[in-house]
Symmetry: C2
Subunit: 129 residues, 2 copies
């Protein structure tokens, strides 16, 4: 078991207090802004520790890893390529069919990540026709 130090607790609190998907740098900056500065290495180690304990979840985007609260049911993500907005969705049938597809290939699944890219509703409208 790991130790829930003040730094790790603070990271966990920030993540749990919002529905955002945070990267390491944003968390360090948020803590700094809140007067509780933290070393960037400590952020990375804390995130890894919290995730290994299942206290937070992550998604690996092209450039960086982003973390979110684990207090939500499993879901996947749509990322707006215009504004960066991340929309969540879950689809039970898709999940089931993934299991079936894996079984068909002899794969034992430990995880998956489905990311869809496109324009969110707002950016769609801003774009016009």
């Amino acid at each position: 078991m790991m130790k829930l130090t003040p730094q790790r607790q603070a990271i966990l609190d920030i993540i749990n207090a919002s529905h955002r998907h945070w990267d390491a740098d944003e968390l360090a900056r948020a803590m700094s802004d809140a007067g509780q500065s933290i070393g960037i290495a400590t952020v990375y180690r804390g995130l890894a520790a919290l995730e290994s304990q299942g206290l937070i979840d992550s998604i690996q985007l092209a450039d960086k890893k982003r973390y979110e609260s684990a207090d939500k049911a499993h879901h996947d993500h749509m990322v707006c390529t215009e504004c960066g907005h991340i929309e969540e969705f879950s689809h039970q049938t898709i999940e089931q069919l993934q299991l079936a597809a894996a079984e068909e290939k002899g794969f034992t699944l430990t995880g998956h990540q489905l990311v869809m890219f496109g324009l969110c509703r707002q950016c769609n409208q801003a774009q016009g026709t």
Copy 2:
């Protein structure tokens, strides 16, 4: 339109001649081994150019981008976390349900990537019970 230089043609040939998923370094090494050395920057630029023309496809894995032939129908990937083997699969219903999920959120899809992680058939057996 871009120019299909000897370097880019060679990259394209290597990718099309196999079913592998290549990273930039592997391609540079393969060309070097074949007696046609190439600058690593040229590999990256060539890959970007070829992909923008739709001549090759790519998948973004955690650490690096991998490229494959575009002479295949769209498919998604299972990655073995033990041996690195990449298995391809396609599931028409999953694709359709993705479109439905996007529409429901007001997203206009431009792409998606579904990657499943786990143990491939071989590594499953090697593991035993």
